[in-house]
Amino acid sequence: MNTEAMQIAEQFDSAAQQREAATFGMWIFLATELMFFGPLFFGYLYGRTHFGEAFGAASRHTDIALGTINTTVLLTSSAAIASAAAARRLGATRLAMRLLFVTAALGTLFLVLKGIEYRHEWQEHLVPGLRFSFAPQYTDGAEIFFFLYFVLTGLHAVHLCAGIVLTLFFALHLRRENLLFANEEKIEIAALYWHFVDVVWIFLYPMLYLIERAGG
């Protein structure tokens, strides 16, 4: 049980109210993020309906090995940050700090692997607008697929960067023992954001890597 004194901002009447507001605020923000990704998911739905075969063919050109490793990395990082929040709640601040660093490291690993994937895709001429080329009967659909692939994973990566910065920020504050600032409430909310980034990926992974893979 964390019995430290809480910093209560002056507009709030109690710590409970502050916590409720902060958490609720993060949920609303996540709702806006969902609506931001929304048109892209919709575009994917549209493309999958109208260019079904082309999407399947294109999807087989994504790097399933790296994609699967990345999924594991991200899921593990979510476990790490959830544990960090729990640790902080229980007062185990050094453990929380280490777990936050682990989360950031895993997130960075994800970005590195993604970067390698991007490089491969560029080398295989799968980047729309940059000498894209694909099997002629599927070119149009495949170009749309890869356009969505890069925008979706790119946008996801940008959000992941923000999450990494956030995580490092709190990890460093814990390292400097700024316990009043890097408190349980804030780390919970950062974890909430991280989980959202993870959930988006959980949808992206099957959409972009797994369709029409069964049976080779």
């Binding site: 079904g52 075969e53 002629p136 009967q137 599927y138 070119t139 149009d140």
Partner: protein, 317 residues
């Protein structure tokens, strides 16, 4: 209606009459509502102004029955208007089978019109009185919109696809044609005239002017020029679908879907041949994007339409 009220917009098509009736009805209904509300507000404002000797006992702050009434009554009225308007709208999109086709290609900032026999015009459309005319339209660049206020018809003209609009002119005369979708610098100048003539005069007019061959004949020439007949004719060694009577036929596609071949399908097949490949055929047709113009495509479509008509004629005993 404009016969009785000459200052009003002319109603020169079969759709215009119905339109004006609906418009007038809605105007009366909404006008009555507006007058009623304005009247009540003014009445209450005067009667219940501060210091007046009106009875203010038991002022109500709610009344479920009243709320229900003024929810349900407008709702029913709205549903009625919706139904009437939706019905008329559906008619606007059902061109009669025997409508005279006219082809329109819009571009910044002019209307290029071609009649089936080949007669072309720019920024003008001559049509016969009393006959249904169906415009098949596309744009070469951005979205435009074909608007003839006197006919009460309007349809966006979209690049990359065909849209159509039909009308039957009921009054002789010359009417405004406007572009109604902002399309750049000279959008306001993209105007023209629709000229309604008696049918015999129209027939005469059709024969004048540049005596190009009819559109279908042009299409046949293009069919050979672009090499379509090389694969799609009966004697070809390449296995390609027979296009006789294609328009209106059901086509079964490679991915299991089937569709009815229309103008958009033919256009897509010429420009994006990989998009809807017919079942049982290899996707080897090259794309003609960039080589064939919008007018050419319209001509090819008319040629194909003609092959269907000829085929039917031959089948008839």
């Amino acid at each position: 209606m404009s016969d009785h009220f000459p200052m009003l917009l002319a109603d020169a098509s079969s759709a215009a009459g119905r339109f004006d009736w609906l418009m007038l009805s809605l105007l009366l209904v909404t006008g009555a509502m507006a007058v009623l509300l304005a009247g009540l507000i003014i009445f209450f404002s005067i009667r219940y102004r501060k210091g007046s000797a009106a009875d203010r006992t038991n002022p109500p702050s709610g009344a479920r029955g009243l709320e229900a009434a003024w929810t349900i009554f407008p709702l029913l009225m709205f549903l009625g208007i919706f139904t009437w308007a939706a019905f008329d709208y559906a008619q606007l999109y059902r061109a009669p089978d025997d409508a005279l086709p006219v082809f329109v290609v819009a571009k910044q900032w002019m209307w290029k019109v071609q009649h089936p026999n080949g007669r072309r015009e720019i920024d003008e459309l001559h049509v016969p009185l009393g006959e249904a005319v169906k415009l098949v339209m596309t744009s070469q660049d951005v979205i435009h919109s074909f608007f003839v206020p006197a006919f009460r018809v309007k349809q966006d003209v979209v690049p990359g696809r065909y849209t159509s609009l039909w009308f039957k002119a009921t009054k002789l005369g010359t009417y405004h044609l406007f572009c109604a979708e902002y399309c750049g610098t000279d959008h306001a100048g993209m105007r023209g005239r629709v000229i309604v003539m008696p049918p015999d005069e129209y027939a005469r007019w059709l024969q004048q002017g540049n005596t190009e061959s009819g559109i279908a004949a042009q299409g046949f020439a293009l069919f050979r020029k672009y090499g379509c007949s090389g694969c799609h004719s009966a004697g070809s060694s390449v296995h390609a679908p027979d296009l006789t009577g294609l328009l209106g036929r059901t086509v079964h596609l490679q991915d299991g879907r089937s569709l009815i071949a229309d103008e958009n399908y033919v256009r897509d097949s010429i420009l994006l041949p990989k998009k809807d490949v017919v079942a049982g055929y290899a996707p080897v047709m090259p794309s003609f994007a960039g080589q064939v113009s919008e007018e050419d495509i319209l001509a090819l479509i008319e040629y194909l339409r003609q092959t269907g008509a000829d085929h039917d004629d031959r089948q008839r005993p």
